[in-house]
């Protein structure tokens, strides 16, 4: 089970590459500019991941820094850095997309 980290906005191919690779049991955390992928009405790719019941998380500090707190897809879960650490302990591996 892999924790995927993604730090690029949706206009970068990283999200599509990640979505093609991610498997059931994995989860995805959006950090830095990656949080733009979770902005509402912005990404069918992200919606497809959520439909596949892939848990998707956003780093709250990066969401707040970009003024996106009220514009996020409600199915995405906000976490802090300690939550990020916990996710990385729960998954057996990590993979960075960017």
């Amino acid at each position: 089970m892999i924790l995927h980290t993604l730090n690029k906005s949706p206009d970068h191919p990283a999200l599509n590459r990640c979505a093609g690779f991610i498997s059931d049991g994995d989860c995805l955390i959006l950090i830095e500019d990656g949080v733009y992928c979770a902005a509402t009405n912005d990404s069918s790719t992200l919606n497809n991941l959520l439909l596949r019941e892939i848990p998707v998380f956003c780093l709250q500090a990066d969401v707040e820094a970009r003024g996106l707190l009220n514009r996020l897809n409600p199915a995405v879960q906000l976490i802090d850095y300690e939550g990020f650490v916990t996710l990385s302990t729960e998954q057996t591996k990590s993979k960075r997309w960017g």
Binding site: Y81, E82, V85, T86, S94, G98
Partner: protein, 130 residues
């Protein structure tokens, strides 16, 4: 649980090193261990002791240094990445006949073997890049 943290982004160029620093702090806050922090590619710029940002801005070199000193961490920078970017300790500066080095402890210049060793001996590897 033991963590290897790999930093591939330079300070003030991307958010990678700041994200990695916050993650490293959270690892310690959660009671886990940091096996090593490895700086690779542009990440080696974090080791430049001559960085002099304005005083009211975050000083990433100083932030890493303090985190390492207070928690007895290994900050290892890749020698091949470092030399070609002008990141040299005093020994390398003398070897290459440069007027000064800009890397001091707790940053240590070493090789990719330390990255491989980290991936083998740490329970988790987390990479932050630009």
């Amino acid at each position: 649980m033991k963590f290897l943290i790999v930093v591939q982004g330079g300070p003030y160029t991307s958010q990678a090193s700041l994200s990695a620093w916050h993650f490293a702090r959270a690892v310690l806050t959660r009671g886990h261990e940091i096996y090593r922090i490895f700086f690779y590619h542009d990440g080696v710029y974090n080791a430049n002791g001559l960085l002099s940002p304005p005083q009211d801005e975050v000083n990433l070199h100083e932030a890493w240094r303090l985190l390492a000193v207070e928690n007895d961490l290994e900050l290892v920078i890749c020698v091949a990445s470092a030399l070609r970017r002008g990141i040299l300790d005093q020994t390398e500066a003398s070897r290459y006949e440069k007027p000064l080095g800009n890397v001091e402890a707790p940053f240590i210049i070493s090789g990719l073997g330390q990255l491989i060793d980290g991936t083998i001996n740490a329970d988790r590897t987390m990479t932050f890049g630009s």
